[in-house]
C-alpha cells in the first residue's frame, strides 16, 4: 500500500526497503532465475507474434465491453448463474456482502483475486459484516494473517523469510513450528483443509470470462481455486470487466503466454473452466448458487480512452514487475499501491486516484524492460510518462520543472545558460575533468558519483575546425545530432564520431539550430515544452539535405525516432514531416556497422584492449539494436568480454537519478561491479548519459575501470 504524503516521505520509505537485505537478495535471485526460465519457456514459440495476437484480440474486446458483458450475462444466466455489474469498489463489495447475507453464509474461503484486493473486499466482509474470511492461496493466507498487502502479483509473500513464516504458523497453530519449507507447506495444507470444510461461501477471481458461453477460467498452481469453487454451497467470482473475451479461443491463447510470462511455466498445475451452476452436494437442491460479479471502477471509461485503453490488455502475469530494476530493489510495497510493478503505477492512477499515484508514478527510470516482455505488448513506460504529465496538469507544475521547461524551449537561452555554467563551475572544478564537490543544490545523497564539468569549448564551436572536407559525390549524406551532453560536456565524443568516419565517402553537416532533444522535458512530464523543442529540432534538420540523422546518444536517438512521432504524428500539420525526420534517425553503431559497413580491414592489426560493454536501455530495447556495437568492437580488434546483466539499466535515467539518487546509486554499483568482474579494464557504451553515470560511479568507487563512448575507440583504432 502506498500512503506516503509527498516525495520526501516516499523516498524515506524507499530507503527502508533498500536497507532490507533479505528482500534485496530474494529479489535479485528471483530476477536472475526468472530471466532464464522465461526465455526457456518461450524458446520454441514465436513470442512476438503471440503477444501481437493477444494485443489485437484484447483491443478488440475492449472496444465492445458492453456488448460482451450483455452476452455473458445472458448466457451465464441461461445456465443457472447470476451476473452482476458493479460500478465501483463499494458497490461490488456491497453486492457480495448482500449475497452472503441472503444465503446465510458465515464463513468464506477465498482464492486469490487481485480484483478483490482492488476493492478491499475483505475489509467490508470482516469489519462491516462480521464474516470470517480465509485466504487459501498460501502466500495470500500468510500475508492476510500478517495484515499486509501482496508484494508481488504472483508471489504475494516473496518479501518474507521462512523464519517469519514459521513464527507466524507457530502463533496460528499454538504449536512450535520449524523452518523447513516442505513441513510448513504441509501445516498449511492441513490447517486450510479444515477451513474448506467449514466454509459456506467460496470467493474466487477470474482470469477469463468467456461471453459466448458465460464461462469463467481460473489459473492456479496450488489447486485452491478448485476447492473454493467446489466445496462451499455458494460461489462468487469477482472480476474486472477487462476479463471479458468473446470466445474460448481468446482465453486459450492468453493461457499460452500468461504462465510462461509469470513464472516461466508452460502452464500452471490447474486451469479450471466453470460454466453455470454445477452440482453441489452441500446445496439445498444439489445445485450450487453461482454469482459472477463484474467490476467497472473506471474500466468502461478507460476502454474508450484512445491512449490508455491498451491498459486492458494486461493479463496480470506480473512479468513487468519481474524485470523492472526498480521493483527488484524496492519491492512491491514501495512500487505500487495494490497493483504493483509497471502496470501498478498506471492502474493505481486509474483505480485509486491521483493522490495514491503521484509519488509512485515518478519512480520509473524508463528503461523499457517491462515493455519488452509485456504479454499484452503494452507501452508501459510510455503510459507511465503520460500519466505523470496528466498529474502535472492536475496538480500544477513544480517550480524547477516549469523553470527548466521555459528555459529549454528557448535554445539560445539554454545554450547561454550552459556557457555561463562553464564559468560558474570554476571554483568547483578539479583537474581531472570532474567536479571536486557538488553544487549546493544537490542533496548529500547525490554524492555516489562524480559529476563531469562542462567542457571549455562546446562541440558547436569546434565544428568549423573539425569538420571534414566536403566530398564531391558522397555515398552518404549525414547530419549530426549531438545532443546537449555531447555538445557541451563531452565534445570529444562528437569529435571522435567525425574522426571515425573520415575517408569513408561521407558528407557531414552540423545544423547549428539544433537543441536538446527534449527527452528530459518528457521525463519530467513537461509535454508542451517537449513538443515545442521537437518542432525546433525537426525544422533545424529540414534545412539540410541529408539521408541520415546520426546521433551518438542512444537516448536522443530513440526519443527522436519514436517520441517525436508520438508527439507530432497525429497532427496533420506535422505528420508527414515528422515521419520523414524520424525515418532518417540512426544511432552510431548501426550506422558504422550496418550502413557504412566497416570491416576488420579498416582497423589496426595490433591486438586491442580487453573491453566490456554496457547496453544502453534506449539502444538495446528502445531501438532494438543489440548486435551492431558488439560486432563493431570485435571488428576493431578489441577483446570483448561480456559482463553479467549487460542490458540492465545503469541507473542514469536523466532527471530520475536526481530524484531517486539512492536507487540510481544501487543500480550503478551493480553495473560497475559486473563490469569489473568481466576482467576488462575498459567499458564501452553508446550513450553519453551512461558514460557520465558509469564513469562517475567508477571514479567514486576508486576503481580504475575506464569508461568511454564506443566512437572514441573506433576513432583510435582506425587505420
Amino acid at each position: 500500500m502506498q500512503d506516503a504524503k509527498n516525495l520526501k516521505e516516499y523516498r524515506k520509505e524507499i530507503r527502508e526497503s533498500l536497507d532490507n537485505d533479505f528482500l534485496r537478495t530474494a529479489m535479485d535471485n528471483f530476477a536472475v532465475a526468472y530471466r532464464g526460465s522465461r526465455a526457456n519457456a518461450f524458446k520454441d514459440m514465436d513470442e512476438k507474434a503471440l503477444i501481437r495476437d493477444i494485443a489485437e484480440a484484447k483491443d478488440a474486446a475492449a472496444s465492445r465491453l458492453d456488448e460482451l458483458f450483455a452476452k455473458f450475462k445472458e448466457e451465464a444466466e441461461k445456465r443457472g448463474a447470476v451476473v452482476h455489474l458493479a460500478k465501483d469498489a463499494k458497490e461490488a463489495n456491497e453486492i457480495i456482502g448482500r449475497i452472503a447475507m441472503d444465503e446465510n453464509c458465515k464463513t468464506i474461503v477465498k482464492s486469490k483475486s487481485m480484483t478483490a484486493e482492488e476493492t478491499l473486499l475483505n475489509h467490508h466482509l470482516e469489519d462491516d459484516l462480521n464474516l470470517k474470511v480465509v485466504e487459501t492461496d498460501l502466500g495470500e493466507w500468510i500475508i492476510q494473517m500478517r495484515k499486509e498487502g501482496p508484494s508481488h502479483m504472483v508471489m504475494p509473500a516473496i518479501h518474507l523469510s521462512r523464519h517469519q513464516v514459521s513464527d507466524l504458523f507457530s502463533d496460528v497453530t499454538g504449536q512450535k513450528q520449524g523452518d523447513d519449507v516442505q513441513a510448513l507447506v504441509k501445516v498449511a495444507r492441513r490447517e486450510l483443509r479444515q477451513e474448506f470444510v467449514d466454509a459456506d461461501m467460496g470467493i474466487s477471481g477470474g482470469n477469463f470470462a468467456i461471453a459466448e458461453t458465460g464461462s469463467i477460467g481460473l489459473v492456479t498452481n496450488e489447486g485452491n481455486a478448485r476447492l473454493v469453487t467446489t466445496l462451499p454451497r455458494v460461489h462468487v467470482a469477482l472480476m474486472g470487466l477487462d476479463k471479458l473475451t468473446p470466445k474460448l479461443h481468446d482465453a486459450l491463447r492468453v493461457l499460452k503466454a500468461l504462465p510462461r510470462n509469470a513464472t516461466g511455466q508452460a502452464i500452471t498445475s490447474y486451469v479450471t473452466w466453470i460454466t453455470g451452476s454445477n452440482e453441489c452436494a452441500a446445496a439445498e437442491d444439489d445445485r450450487k448458487k453461482v454469482h459472477f460479479v463484474f467490476l467497472d471502477n473506471g474500466r468502461r471509461a478507460l476502454a474508450k480512452d484512445p491512449v490508455f485503453s491498451q491498459v486492458h490488455r494486461c493479463v496480470r502475469c506480473g512479468a513487468c514487475a519481474n524485470v523492472c530494476p526498480v521493483y527488484r530493489m524496492v519491492g512491491g510495497h514501495k512500487m505500487g499501491h495494490i497493483y504493483i510493478g509497471a502496470i501498478g503505477l498506471i492502474l493505481t492512477y486509474f483505480y485509486h486516484g491521483t493522490e495514491k499515484a503521484k509519488n509512485l508514478v515518478q519512480n520509473c527510470i524508463n528503461c523499457g524492460a517491462c515493455k519488452e516482455i509485456c504479454a499484452g505488448g503494452i507501452d508501459l513506460p510510455g503510459l507511465i510518462k503520460d500519466i505523470q504529465a496528466r498529474i502535472l496538469e492536475e496538480e500544477g507544475h513544480p517550480m524547477y520543472s516549469s523553470f527548466l521547461a521555459k528555459m529549454m524551449k528557448n535554445r539560445k537561452l539554454f545554450h547561454k545558460f550552459l556557457r555561463i555554467a562553464k564559468t560558474a563551475q570554476k571554483p568547483m572544478k578539479g583537474k581531472d575533468g570532474f567536479m571536486r564537490h557538488l553544487p549546493m543544490i544537490f542533496m548529500p545523497d547525490h554524492d555516489f558519483r562524480a559529476l563531469p564539468t562542462v567542457a571549455e569549448v562546446p562541440f558547436r564551436d569546434m565544428w568549423a575546425k573539425v569538420q571534414p572536407a566536403k566530398v564531391a559525390n558522397p555515398k552518404y549524406k549525414v547530419a549530426l545530432f549531438s545532443g546537449c551532453v555531447q555538445d557541451f560536456v563531452y565534445p570529444e565524443q562528437s569529435v571522435a564520431t567525425v574522426e571515425s568516419m573520415r575517408n569513408k565517402d561521407v558528407n557531414l553537416e552540423f545544423p547549428m539550430d539544433q537543441s536538446c532533444c527534449g527527452l528530459p522535458l518528457q521525463m519530467m512530464g513537461e509535454v508542451t515544452a517537449a513538443r515545442e523543442v521537437a518542432i525546433q529540432n525537426m525544422e533545424a534538420f529540414e534545412g539540410t539535405d541529408c539521408d541520415y540523422i546520426l546521433t551518438m546518444c542512444a537516448s536522443c536517438a530513440s526519443h527522436l525516432k519514436h517520441n517525436y512521432m508520438k508527439m507530432l504524428g497525429q497532427d496533420p500539420k506535422y505528420a508527414t514531416r515528422v515521419k520523414a525526420f524520424a525515418d532518417k534517425v540512426i544511432d552510431y553503431s548501426s550506422f558504422m556497422n550496418d550502413v557504412l559497413g566497416v570491416e576488420k580491414e579498416d582497423f589496426l592489426d595490433s591486438a586491442g584492449d580487453a573491453v566490456t560493454y554496457h547496453a544502453p536501455c534506449h539502444l538495446c530495447r528502445g531501438l532494438d539494436v543489440k548486435s551492431a556495437p558488439r560486432e563493431l568492437m570485435v571488428k576493431a580488434g578489441l577483446d570483448y568480454k561480456e559482463s553479467a546483466e549487460e542490458e540492465v539499466c545503469c541507473g542514469f535515467g536523466g532527471t530520475y537519478s536526481v530524484k531517486f539518487p539512492k536507487i540510481s546509486e544501487q543500480l550503478l554499483t551493480k553495473k560497475v561491479n559486473n563490469a569489473k568482474e568481466s576482467g576488462a579494464k575498459v567499458l564501452l557504451t553508446d550513450c553519453p548519459g551512461c558514460v557520465m553515470q558509469i564513469r562517475g560511479g567508477a571514479k567514486k568507487q576508486g576503481t580504475d575501470l575506464e569508461v568511454k563512448h564506443i566512437a572514441e575507440y573506433m576513432a583510435e583504432r582506425r587505420k
Binding site: A26, R79, L138, G139, I142, M155, P156, A157, I158, R162, V165, V172, T173, G174, Q175, Q177, V181, Q182, A183, L184, V185, K186, V187, A188, R189, R190, E191, R193, Q194, F196, V197, E212, T213, S215, N221, E222, G223, N224, R226, L227, T229, T230, L231, K247, L248, H249, L252, T263, A266, I267, T268, S269, Y270, V271, W273, T275, G276, N278, E279, A281
Partner: protein, 207 residues
C-alpha cells in the same frame, strides 16, 4: 516416429518435467494392478494423511482422525470397471469409496480416474467433471492415478476447442491438470501438494 508416437513422446516429456509419473499400459487390468501396488507401497506413516505428522492446531488435528485404513476413490467408472476395481481392493484390504467423497475431506490415499483428453504441448490432462464426486476426488486425494487412452491425446489446447465449447453449452466444470499441486510461495522453494494431490500418475492406455 509416427505422428502419434511423437505426440506420446512429447506428452510424456512434458508431463515428466512437472514430476508426473508416466507409464504405458495395454489394458485396464494393468491399471488396477498398478493402483493396488501403489496403495500397498504407501508407507505406514503415510496412512496418516499428508500433514498430519506436523504440529497442528486442535481443529485441524481433528480432521486427521476422520481417516481409517487405506482408501481408494474411483467415482464415475462404468459399472463393470468399478466392480473389477472393487474386487481387487477387497483382496488387498483397501476400502473403495464409491460415493459421498465429501465425507472424506480428511484425505483419501488414491483417486483413480479415466480422463477425457491429454494435451501433448504441455503434458496436461483434461478432465470433464461436472460430477462433483469425480471433481472432488481429484482434489483431495494424496495421489491421483489417471488413465489416458492414447487415442485421446491432442497436440495442443486449440484442438479441444469445439469439444469444450460443446460442453460449455450446458452447465460444466472442466479441469486442465498438469503435474501435482505446487507452490513456491515461501522463499520461492518449490513445494508439492499444498492443496491438491502430492503425486500424479498417468497411465497411457494403448487403445
Amino acid at each position: 516416429m509416427t505422428a502419434k508416437a511423437e505426440s506420446v513422446k512429447l506428452f510424456t516429456d512434458k508431463a515428466e518435467l512437472v514430476s508426473a509419473v508416466v507409464t504405458e499400459i495395454s489394458s485396464l487390468d494393468e491399471a488396477y494392478k498398478y493402483t493396488m501396488d501403489l496403495c500397498g507401497k504407501k508407507e505406514a506413516c503415510k496412512m496418516l494423511i499428508s500433514g498430519c505428522e506436523q504440529n497442528l492446531s486442535n481443529t485441524a488435528e481433528q480432521l486427521c482422525a476422520t481417516k481409517t485404513g487405506k482408501t481408494i476413490v474411483a467415482p464415475a467408472l462404468a459399472k463393470k470397471e468399478a466392480a473389477a476395481l472393487e474386487k481387487q481392493c477387497e483382496e488387498n484390504g483397501f476400502t473403495l469409496i464409491k460415493d459421498s467423497v465429501r465425507n472424506h475431506l480428511g484425505g483419501i490415499d488414491i483417486a483413480f480416474t479415466r480422463v477425457d483428453h491429454g494435451i501433448a504441448e504441455t503434458g496436461s490432462l483434461v478432465l470433464n467433471c461436472p460430477n462433483e464426486e469425480l471433481r472432488l476426488a481429484t482434489m483431495i486425494s494424496e495421489v491421483h492415478v489417471a488413465v489416458l487412452p492414447k487415442s485421446k491425446l491432442v497436440d495442443n489446447s486449440y484442438e479441444l476447442e469445439s469439444w469444450m465449447e460443446g460442453n460449455m453449452m450446458k452447465g460444466d466444470y472442466t479441469a486442465f491438470i498438469t503435474g501435482a499441486s505446487r507452490t513456491a510461495d515461501i522463499e520461492r522453494v518449490l513445494a508439492i501438494g499444498v492443496h491438491g494431490p502430492l503425486e500424479l500418475h498417468i497411465l497411457l492406455l494403448e487403445d
